[in-house]
Amino acid sequence: MKNSTIIWLVLLVVGGGYLMFRTGSGSMGRAYVRHETFDAKASFEEQIQKLDNEEQKDIADGKKLPEAKSAARERLEARLPDLEGITWTKVKSAERGELTTDAGQPDPAVVFSWSRTIGLWIAALGTFAIMSFLWGDNVFYKLAEAVVVGASAAYAMVVGFWTGIIQNLFGKLIPSVMRDTVLPGLPSSQHTEWIYIIPLVLSVLMLWRLAPVGGWISRWPLAFFIGATAGIRLVAYLDADFVQQIANTIMPLIVFDNKQGLLIGKSIGNIVIVIGVLTCLIYFFFSFEHTGAVGSAARVGIFFLMITFGAGFGFTVMGRIALISDRFNFLFYDWLWLPLPGIDA
């Protein structure tokens, strides 16, 4: 315990010193962005030009002009006047490799970004804060935990708001309003689907809990969806996971091929599979105690399950290792700018 603490301290001190040195020498932990100006009018004229060219080609080929295209062109043209002077700068993250143009001169479009550099450092320190939990619960972890809980809850809410509520609910209930405000891309074919009143009403009932009286009404939407879930899952699982799996298990135990004759390997494989499935199923029987013949069959079943779990464990280990590799990749390459063999910075 004692000496391990010392070791960790030493590690931290050494690491910290190293960072200060690197940062001081300005050879790590900076983020750059590529700026592009977007001119709405210009880009629209470009698109119209493109359509025109295609039209020319079609005429040349003596083809009939597809309505969709010409219609699209008109729509674009109609909007041109409103676009006067609408411009903004597009920001794209830039790899360190992009700092200089192919010619070797520094690329003027690529600029140092304060916001992202700060972000990079927050990310790096956050990474350490979370990892510090391995040491034991500590103030850094508590801090990171507090942030990640708050931020991620809000993240989920925001996503739910823009996609679930705006797109799926209002997009269906008041498409015209949405088209004029946040969802201009909503196809004009989209008309009000009154059926979506139902989810709206159910939601209101759900929120009724907050009301001082009659909170029990919120059980109705719950009941609706739990009922729906039960119904949908019942058929879905019985079909795909019961019927289908049984169908897949029906196979010849002795695989005989007219050309090669008996295929021993395949036959054994099939036999083992079938035995495995049957014994495992027997293990799951609730009606009989695991004694006698059933008991021994069930035991074989358990062995199969254990092999499955063991392999599952093996495969999972792989995956998890890949995850630290990824985090270290971030720390070493994106933040510390260490030269990693295999990727050229």
Binding site: K63, A156, A230, F288
Partner: protein, 439 residues
């Protein structure tokens, strides 16, 4: 009362089934050798205008037929044709394909021009047009295409087709039979148990442990932690978790142990509160129920884990229950629980997470056992009936597999195709597949 409702609805379903069976997809079908008639019959389409082109366009396909697509709501038509003679299976070295693709054109309600309904790759001789409307009628043409400038003359189906809406999906008739068998068994056994027939079921170690765990938490004066998985209430595992929660809450209320339930979904929180409150009431300790012990953390998987593990190392619960749908977090939770020396009971139907629960928890309910848990813990005889029903389901499965495999083996021994092969394919394609009620 609801029992009766459900029976009526179930019967209705069967009635629909019977009606549906009597219906067969209507087929409007027609073929004719194209070229001359096709032109005469359908007004010239653009390809026709641009003819003749330099070079020779591919020969058109023939025998175009259009039939209603069976088992749909009258939205589909299947167009079939015989490949153009120029559409060869294999092009020899250096040669380019004469037919790159087929264009399927359709004319709606006899309006005068044909519009593109879709395209099919070469060597394909059928196309599903799923953009149809039961109230319209369609005439189809198929054009073999070498490139934009070289297209064959259109081959047309003679008569027009309108899709028909079927009231019954004949592909699923057998599935209904199986569904009724399994569900029937479950329902029947529940009724038997209700009628007072005593049912014997084996013990499950993990379930004995639940009592013990709550008991120990009480002795140590520490809390119990219950995690109902990280999926929303629209997943059956969460529902199963909630049913187990109600039993655990009941015990906690009895023993007077404190129970904490952090959830990762708002709706799960809502449901859990209803459940736990009811459980405390049932145990006669409504006063002991504290709504704030059942709280929402965040929807995001690892935000949630961060929160829960944090709580674990600080509050050091003596018993941890993980009952529901779990993903990667399973091991983080189990390991942390392990390090604070809590009794851990887990139950999930996520095969991928079972290894870790099995290894790191004291008891684990594997797959089906997890769904059986609430029935066991409820202590209500009639709930055990459902388990017997499940066994019948497994029995059906076992029988089908055994019979199927035996027949299949005989078939493969007997070599060439014969009745045995037909039996196997009937079993796999019709009974267990979607090829309809009869071969």
């Amino acid at each position: 009362m609801t029992d009766r409702v459900s029976w009526t609805v179930a019967l209705l379903a069967i009635a629909v089934a019977v009606v549906g069976l009597s219906e067969r997809p209507a087929m409007a079908q027609a073929t004719l050798d194209n070229k001359s008639e096709a032109k005469a019959e359908s007004p010239p389409v653009e390809e026709a205008e641009t003819e003749p082109k330099p070079g020779n366009p591919p020969q058109p396909p023939s025998d175009v037929t259009a039939i209603d697509r069976p088992d749909d709501a009258g939205t589909g038509i299947i167009v079939k044709w015989s490949l153009s003679p120029d559409d060869v299976a294999k092009v020899d070295e250096g040669q380019t394909r004469k037919v790159i693709r087929y264009e399927i054109l359709r004319q709606v309600d006899g309006q005068d021009d044909f519009t593109l309904a879709g395209e099919a790759n070469f060597q394909k001789s059928s196309f599903n047009d799923l953009k149809c409307d039961p109230n319209s009628s369609y005439i189809y043409q198929v054009v073999a295409v070498e490139n934009e400038d070289s297209k064959s003359t259109p081959a047309a189906a003679a008569t027009e087709v309108s899709p028909v809406m079927q009231w019954w999906d004949t592909r699923r008739t057998w599935f209904l039979v199986i569904l009724l068998m399994v569900c029937g068994a479950v329902i029947q056994f529940i009724r038997l148990a209700r009628a007072g027939r005593s049912l014997k079921v084996r013990k499950i170690a993990g379930l004995e442990a639940v009592n013990e765990a709550v008991g120990r938490a009480t002795e140590m004066g520490r809390s119990c932690l219950f995690i109902p998985g990280i999926l929303d209430i629209n997943d059956m595992q969460t529902v199963a978790g909630i049913t187990v929660l109600s039993r655990v809450a009941g015990l906690a209320a009895e023993y007077g142990a404190s129970l904490e339930v952090p959830t990762s979904r708002s709706l799960v929180m809502t449901t859990a509160r209803e459940t736990v409150q009811a459980a405390y009431l049932g145990a006669g300790r409504p006063d002991a129920y504290n709504e704030d012990n059942i709280y929402y953390l965040t929807d995001e998987q690892f935000g949630y884990v961060a929160g829960v593990t944090g709580t674990m190392v600080r509050d050091k619960p003596a018993a941890c229950f993980y009952m529901g749908a779990f993903f990667a977090e399973s091991l983080i939770l189990a390991e942390t629980g392990n390090s604070i020396g809590a009794i851990q009971v887990a139950g999930t139907a996520m095969p991928s997470q079972l290894p870790f629960f099995v290894a790191a928890c004291d008891y684990t309910l594997i797959g089906e056992e997890f769904f059986a848990a609430s029935a066991y813990l409820s202590g209500e005889e009639h709930q055990l009936g459902s388990l017997k029903g499940q066994d019948v389901g497994k029995m059906i499965g076992v029988t089908l597999v055994v019979v199927g495999c035996l027949v299949a083996s005989l078939a493969s021994l007997s070599g060439g195709d014969n009745a045995l092969h037909d039996v196997v394919s009937f079993l796999t394609d019709n009974v267990l597949g979607d090829k309809g009620f009869l071969p």
